[in-house]
């Protein structure tokens, strides 16, 4: 908080410095031209009139007695006039002159010159140092004389010196700190310590191509509180940092995969495409690698269209504006941040043991009326009765996490720098999964002249990650740990991976399904996938005129990646494959962005006007290749190179693409008297992704605010701020448009076998439709907000209501299957509305040395597909499925996008009589194939059978509301923070049950909960009867049996910190700080969801046993000197 405010303060100070210094110094003494008198008669003796003025003002006249001799009677009118005017009149009439020194007015003989009144004020010089509550000097703090615009600012070391009239009162202020008033009296040295302002209203927030005070905002913006503490959490990405912190920003982890990046959704799902917000780092759109959280100074989310409009085409899903730490003039500072922790799974599924496995399948076969497989017979296959492995324990591990960061910063008066090096490594909680990031940043700025500033910011990052497939119902690591035969050991006697059965018992293999040894799934492939990214920004800024600035920024983003995956032979029984493969590929991409920006700011009295014009262009190109070779004699690491392969089956795959975008933007901001605020912008975007007829489009935005609390009539000491604001705007969305959607390349391969002997032939076909009429998708947001502050800004409340329309929603049109083109064209198919309410409340207070701050937010999201006017059908059936069989998702107007469309079920049949009696109005038996223990499906259509006609809509995976609560406490040297976060109104499709509860597949082992499956003696079960056949479609029907509530409340983080006492540290270096802390991430989860983790994703997600979010305990150190 402190250093953030410091930086903005500096920035703002630089902007206003000139205006401040332009004023002359005036006395605190009431000037004679501002002091009025009314005289009660028109004819005066001089002495008489001086006495009279002395009586009604503070002035004293000082004169030699003789000077009043021979002076005429003064005639003056009786109206109200200033002392100055009166004295001028007297001087002219009596040939006198006056000299004011403080409150004394000296009278002398006139010289006939113009300067008849000389004013001279006695002054004192005050100097001192301004520091913050941590003892750090505050350069750029403002010192003004109360009641005047006179003042100065502190230098780099926080020192100031000011000459003021005797008796003046000084006001010390700095953005982000509470201002303080000190009377000068007779002091010549005044040192001041400013306290941090606990309200955020004075905070300067970065908006598109500029900054503004939070209290003056017209648009909807949320900012991340307490960045400094957030980065101490054992997290890996900026997305992690945002989760639960800002109303209207939904972050869904989706997976605990160490390399996974959570998904950020700002104000609901509008498009099916790449629903990712735009990241802007230090003023330029950012497409680079993971940002080192320790580099982040502040993070602001632009939520409504009017706020984001300036960033246009890529901003339709919101903008996340990140400012990285800058150096500041002064001594070079060093920060060391380090933490280390351990991660573990807080909940794992449990599979049947060997005996339970065999007996469950015996009863399942018996129920189906078939003969049990001999593999499960203890007499024929005694091997199968001994549990040798608990597979779940074999795939999970305790994963360490380490983060280290060092930052150096400093500068002279003319230049500032900051450089950092970060290292982040975490191992996943599934074996052999990890993520590692090296990052390096160098940022500097120079004031070359008073008018010319240049700067640069280079970020180099290198990451490697190794994840695990957990999403596939066939080859997912977790689901295979359920499937795998518990009688099998992990390794055989030769140290090789063991199959479902030993080779000598291969005749039983069929009973155990085509299961992978789950440990081999994690350990066997040799994967490397380094990614190198360089992201660099350079800019120059020039003040053409006092109020007109030109800025040119250029950024380049370079990516280089390679993927190498060696899959050894799989000899063991289960899914054997006597072939090894090497898949290798590499690619690179580059993108440049060039912004030209003109800014004009001018104040006319109480009117403030700002004009901004931007022209920006960006171009991206990408090229990559990949190939597969196979049949390696040996599988040693050193042999895994393509030149050692015996066979190349396919021609290497290669692709390239390009993407260009240009935009011209204009913006006007205007405010009047701190009461009325207005902003309007317009932009024209042009993209290479659309046909020339539709590639250019125009998008406007407007916003305004009325600060009622600044009005003259508003006079409440309890309410410090009351502001009403509204905005409306449109943004084009390019991210949902395919690169060449107007002219899709044909698909090719060389997989067609022809001839004798059969050889490969090249083939080309049309697999996707093009759409030359594709238009920009348009996101339109209207927003009403109310900002309030009470109790000396201790309590702040922001409430908002928004409606966000996505018009011309781009989705892949589902082609009529008879057209024979498997993939439909991207098309503007309809309209989606997201609307919601967002409420943020913060309160800060202190009781003695105990300081506390509470910050809570809650937001609702209501998503509805309004129409599908240009879709080929009245609804969209989404292809996401469990094993191609159960397709739960449908989008239809009137319903949320990606809704579940399922057949309701009403429990389980208890008896044959109940099945017989289950008829429709015509007497038709609705489920003739059912047996007791099968699910009762509801015949919604009443047609006497269970079919797709019986499906009804049942919500979606997107939360109806999300909330977060931060509690920060400080007492003496201790700090404690608790962060809780949750979602509600989420429905999740637990596809895991399809295989893990189902004995009708290939004979896989099952989840231990099937021991509670229905049987005549267990009539209250919710799991249908175990059977190797499923004529009722218990598992095959897309029913709500799979659907579960996915609400959760998580104690996301708990941190306890201790700051070493200053006295101890001043010996190292004055101003040093050391803090140590303990942190627990994902301490507690409360959820009704029966799957492994409720955070499986949002949208078209089926949970087949997803990588769970780890629980992490860590300890860390912050050291600044």
């Amino acid at each position: 908080m402190v250093s953030k405010n410091l930086m903005y303060g500096l920035l703002l100070q630089c902007l206003f410095l000139t205006t401040l210094m332009a004023h002359d110094i005036h006395a605190q003494i009431k000037p004679i031209d501002k002091t009025y008198v009314v005289l009660d008669k028109s004819e005066w003796e001089l002495q008489e009139i001086f006495k009279n003025i002395e009586n009604i003002t503070d002035y004293k006249f000082v004169y030699p007695e003789d000077i009043l001799n021979n002076k005429p009677i003064i005639n003056t009118n009786k109206k109200r006039q200033s002392v100055n005017d009166l004295l001028v009149e007297i001087a002219t009439a009596a040939n006198l002159k006056f000299k004011q020194v403080d409150n004394s007015i000296y009278v002398g003989e006139g010289s006939g010159k113009k300067e008849i009144i000389q004013i001279e004020i006695e002054e004192v010089t005050v100097s001192g140092k301004v520091t913050d509550d941590k003892g750090e000097s505050l350069p750029g703090a403002t010192i003004t004389v109360l009641g005047t615009t006179t003042g100065t600012v502190t230098d780099i070391d926080g020192n100031y010196s000011i000459t003021v009239p005797d008796g003046a009162v000084l006001v010390f202020s700095f953005i982000g700190y509470e201002p303080i008033q000190i009377p000068v009296d007779n002091q010549s040295l005044i040192d001041v310590t400013l306290k941090t302002d606990i309200s955020s209203l004075e905070e300067i927030v970065v908006v598109g191509y500029g900054t503004t005070r939070r209290a003056d905002l017209t648009t909807s913006i949320g900012s991340l509180e307490n960045v400094k503490r957030t980065v101490d959490r054992p997290i890996s990405s900026v997305q992690d940092m945002l989760q639960g912190q800002i109303a209207g920003v939904t972050v869904v982890a989706g997976s605990g995969d160490p390399g996974a990046t959570p998904r950020v959704i700002i104000r609901g799902v509008g498009t099916m495409g790449n629903e990712s917000p735009l990241y802007v780092v230090d003023g330029m759109p950012y497409y680079g690698g993971r940002i080192n959280p320790n580099d982040i100074e502040s993070m602001v989310v632009l939520k409504d269209a009017a706020a984001a409009a300036i960033y246009g085409a890529q901003a339709a899903s919101g903008v996340i504006v990140i400012t990285t730490k800058s150096g500041k003039s002064g001594e070079t500072k060093v920060s060391l941040d380090f933490y280390r922790g351990v991660q573990s799974a807080y909940k794992t599924p449990e599979a049947l043991n060997a005996q339970e496995y065999a007996s469950s399948y015996r009863s399942a076969a018996a129920h189906a009326g078939g003969v049990s497989q001999s593999a499960h017979d203890p007499l024929l296959n005694p091997w199968s009765q001994v549990t040798r492995t608990v597979w779940m324990d074999e795939i999970f591990q305790t994963g360490p996490i380490t983060n280290a960061n060092v930052q150096l910063s400093g500068g002279s008066e003319r230049g500032r720098f900051s450089t950092s090096f970060g290292y982040h490594k975490k191992e996943g909680i599934l074996r052999n999964t990890d993520f590692e990031l090296f990052s390096f940043r160098l940022k500097s700025e120079y004031d070359l002249t008073d008018k010319l500033r240049v700067g640069q910011n280079v970020y180099v990052n290198h990451s490697t990650s190794r994840g695990a497939n957990t999403s596939s119902s066939y080859s997912g690591a977790i689901i295979n740990a359920v499937y795998m035969n518990p009688a099998a050991p992990v390794y055989d006697e030769f140290g090789q991976f063991h199959g479902t059965v030993p080779f000598e018992l291969s005749q039983f293999a069929g009973a155990y399904g085509d299961t992978y040894n789950p440990v081999s799934l994690l350990l066997r492939p040799n994967i490397s996938n380094p990614r190198l990214n360089i992201n660099a920004i350079a800019y120059a800024e020039y003040d053409i005129l006092e109020n007109l600035t030109f800025k040119s920024s250029f950024s380049i983003d370079l990516w280089n990646w390679s993927d190498k995956n060696f899959s050894p032979r799989v000899p063991e029984i289960g899914r054997p494959s006597n072939m090894n493969f090497l898949n290798q590929g590499a690619g690179n991409s580059s993108r440049w962005i060039w912004d030209q920006q003109l800014n004009y700011n001018k104040s006319f009295g109480k009117h403030n006007l700002g004009l901004t014009a931007v022209y920006t262009a960006q171009f991206r190109q990408e090229e990559a290749f990949s190939y597969q070779v196979q049949d390696f004699d040996r599988e040693d690491d050193w042999f895994q190179y393509a030149s050692n392969a015996t066979t190349i089956l396919r021609v290497p795959n290669a692709y390239g693409n390009e993407d260009a975008l240009t935009s011209a933007i204009g913006r006007v901001t205007y405010d009047y008297d701190d009461r009325y605020f207005f902003m309007g912008s317009a932009r024209r975007d042009q993209t290479s992704r659309l046909h020339s007829n539709t590639k250019t489009d125009f998008f406007p935005a407007l916003s305004g605010a009325w600060k009622i609390s600044s009005e003259g009539f508003f006079n409440s000491s309890a309410i410090n701020l009351l502001k009403l604001r509204g905005s409306w705007g449109q943004i084009g969305n390019i991210s949902s448009v395919g690169l060449y959607a107007f002219n899709v390349p044909l698909a090719s391969g060389n997989d067609v076998i022809m001839g004798e002997p059969g050889t490969r032939n090249r083939h080309v076909s049309l697999n996707e439709m093009s759409n030359s009429n594709l238009r920009w998708e348009r996101s339109e947001t209207a927003n009403i907000g109310l900002d309030m502050a009470f109790l000396s800004n201790r309590l702040t409340v922001t409430a908002e209501y928004y409606e966000k329309y996505t018009r011309g929603l781009i989705l892949r049109n589902a082609p009529d299957p008879h057209s024979g083109v498997p993939t439909g064209a991207l098309s503007n198919v309809g309209t989606v509305l997201n609307k919601g309410i967002e409420l943020t409340v913060a309160y800060a207070g202190e009781i003695g040395q105990f300081r506390y701050r509470l910050n809570g937010n809650i937001s609702t999201i209501n998503n509805e597909l309004l129409d599908l006017d240009e879709f080929t059908n009245d609804f969209i059936v989404h292809g996401e499925s469990i094993r191609g069989t159960v397709l739960p998702f449908r989008s239809e107007p009137g319903q949320p996008l990606f809704s579940y469309h399922l057949i309701p079920h009403d429990g389980i049949f208890q008896s044959a009589a109940q099945i017989e009696a289950y008829v429709n109005t015509d007497g038709t038996k609705i489920q003739p194939n059912a047996r007791p223990g099968d699910l009762i499906f509801r015949d919604v259509s009443g047609d006497g059978k269970i079919s797709d006609d019986d499906r009804v809509f049942m919500g979606n995976a997107m939360p109806d509301f999300t909330y977060g609560l931060n509690i920060n406490l400080e007492y003496k040297n201790f700090d404690l923070s608790i962060f809780a976060q949750g979602v509600g109104g989420v429905m999740l499709f637990n596809g895991y049950k399809h295989t893990a509860y189902n004995a009708g597949l290939q004979g896989y082992n099952l989840d231990r909960r099937v021991l509670d499956a229905w049987s005549p003696t267990n009539p209250n079960a919710t799991i249908p009867v175990l059977s190797t056949q499923d004529p009722n479609g218990n598992f095959g029907q897309p029913s709500d049996w799979y659907l579960e509530k996915g609400d959760y409340l998580r104690i996301r983080n708990f941190t306890l910190g201790y700051n070493f006492p200053e006295s101890l540290l001043n010996s190292i270096r004055s101003g040093s700080t050391v803090r140590v802390y303990l942190s627990a991430e994902n301490l507690l989860t409360i959820t009704p969801y029966s799957g492994i983790d409720p955070e499986v994703g949002s949208g078209l997600v089926i949970d087949n046993g997803t990588f769970p979010i780890p629980r992490t305990f860590s300890a860390g150190l912050n050291f600044n000197f």
Binding site: S374, F508, L548, L661, K695, G820, V877, S947, T1028
Partner: protein, 517 residues
């Protein structure tokens, strides 16, 4: 102010001069519809795409076999509720085992339509043009030939998509399957005109459609059509004779060694023997997984067989005494065979009937590297799988003759003699049915459709399927007990003669579902 004006001007010039061409980009990496259809290579690669699905698990790899496994000859070899739903006629149509069939077959039709639309205008050699068009007409017809009898009936055909209406956004079902047959007929007639004879292809092009194949499928289409229109029986004979009398010398493999001759039809070396008419082409890199699908589950720990289908004891018992085809078609406990180059005697802990299909075992007789794909997830081999072969042409002719009240003995007895059986005289339709069953068991000739068109399905399927439950499943000499593997099923000839169109297709296209499903 001068500076501002200058700057604005510069900005304006920069923005207007580069923007339009700056955002005008040509797709990289692959041709697009706009710049394709130029060279001979374009025509050839477009035609090749017609056969991409020979390597598709979800079509001829095994999906069609799941439908054939609804018959009384073979059944699912593994626990599989979705496959069981198909066999029990309780499927929804969305089962992963069958749902891909319908839409994927229509992609072949689309590819053929594009060729038929664009190739005639291309500036390429006339020979290549004719061949390309011939292949496209053939494959379009062939695709409808597979779809129509499985998804269409006298109450509704399946949508006919041709080069003329392919750009339309939606399609409707024609009145009857006969509309589909007419389309197939016309396409095959054109294909027969345009295509060369099989023996004029170079070795690298073997496997492409040819005149005999067009005639063969005409004959079989008329056979199906004959059940709707008796006037078509004579056409069966006409086109069967065109194949029988083909100058390419189509004939049964008959060296007078019945013990070997029938089995050798399915040898890798005989992929293009005299008995070849039309097959899915395969190699040990890509193509047909059917041999691996039929092989013992996990292949006794030596190769990843899938054991997906098991022949029934009813099929085993259908063979007459002395029929050499029995051993060539089925493996039972104790049978000696060569497996991956080593002698072995058959036993199985996985086969639910104690029997395995033997027809496609030739690639497994040799060491793995000779004919097999070492990738256990894609178990292809060098064996091509016949879609129609010469013996079936003889049986088509015989059946059509009998159906017309004529004598069908000649072609029928050719097939019987090769199998080492005595000739029949005055063969009845029952004799013909028996012959088709044992000659074409577990092949794409499709026993299930035969039973339906003969109206024998309801009775046949009401009987349970049986198998042998061996006392010791690892002992080739083990005794067994016959047991019921699958109970009798309810087949409603008003409903179950066709399959449900996938509900997803119904939902998107809006066409009506087959009645009763």
């Amino acid at each position: 102010m001068k500076h501002i004006v200058k700057l604005c001007l510069i900005l304006l010039i920069v923005s207007s001069s580069c923007s339009d061409t700056f955002t005008e980009l040509t797709p990289l990496g692959s041709p697009t519809s706009g710049n394709f259809w130029q060279s001979e290579e374009d025509a050839i690669t477009a035609v090749n795409a017609l056969y991409e699905h020979w390597g598709d698990d979800n079509l001829f790899g095994r999906a069609f076999m799941y439908l054939i496994a609804a018959s009384d000859d073979i059944m699912q070899g593994r626990t599989d509720a979705a496959a069981a739903a198909i066999r029990n006629f309780q499927a929804t149509g969305q089962e992963g085992r069958m749902a891909p069939i319908y839409p994927r077959m229509y992609t072949v039709i689309q590819r053929a339509n594009n060729i038929i639309k664009y190739v005639p205008e291309m500036n390429i050699s006339e020979t290549l043009k004719n061949r390309a068009l011939g292949e496209a007409y053939f494959m379009r017809a062939h695709t409808y030939y597979w779809l129509a009898p499985r998804y269409a009936d006298h109450r509704a055909g399946i949508p006919i998509v041709t080069e003329e209406n392919m750009e339309e956004l939606s399609f409707t079902r024609p009145a009857s399957i006969v509309d589909n047959y007419r389309q197939i007929e016309s396409d095959l007639l054109r294909a027969a005109e345009l295509l060369p004879y099989f023996n004029t292809y170079s070795p690298t092009d073997l496997g492409r459609p040819h005149k005999d194949a067009a005639h063969a499928f005409l004959a079989k289409t008329y056979l199906y059509w004959g059940h709707h229109d008796a006037s078509k029986w004579s056409s069966v004979v006409t086109y069967a004779d065109m194949v029988i009398n083909s100058p390419t010398g189509r004939a049964l493999i008959n060296t007078g060694n019945p013990a070997e001759d029938f089995a050798s039809v399915f040898y890798v070396n005989n992929n293009f023997s005299s008995e070849y008419v039309f097959s899915t082409v395969s190699s040990n890199e890509r193509g047909q997984i059917l041999p691996g699908v039929m092989l013992e589950n996990t292949g006794w720990g030596l190769y990843n067989g899938w054991g997906t289908f098991s022949p029934t004891l009813e099929l085993y018992n259908a063979f007459e005494e002395g029929d050499h085809r029995k051993k060539a078609t089925l493996l039972e406990f104790g049978d000696s065979f060569s497996f991956l180059g080593n002698p072995r005697r058959y036993y199985s802990g996985n086969s639910r009937t104690g029997i395995q299909v033997n027809k496609y075992m030739d690639p497994y007789r040799f060491p793995e590297e000779v004919h097999l794909n070492p990738n256990g997830n894609y178990v292809t081999s060098n064996l091509n799988i016949p879609l129609i072969r010469f013996a079936e042409i003889l049986l088509l002719k015989s059946e059509a003759l009998i159906m017309q009240g004529q004598n069908g003995d000649g072609p029928l007895n050719q097939v019987r003699q090769r199998a080492g059986l005595a000739s029949k005289s005055g063969a009845t339709i029952a004799d013909l049915k028996q012959e088709r069953r044992v000659e074409l068991a577990a092949e794409y000739a499709d026993r299930h459709l035969d039973l339906i068109r003969w109206r024998d399905a309801q009775l046949a399927y009401s009987k349970p399927a049986t198998g042998r439950n061996h006392f010791n499943k690892t002992d080739p000499d083990s005794g067994f007990k016959v047991y019921q593997v699958w109970p009798g099923r309810t087949f409603n000839p008003q409903i179950h003669h066709v399959w449900p169109i996938p509900p997803n297709t119904i939902a998107i296209s809006g066409i009506p579902q087959n009645q009763g499903w």
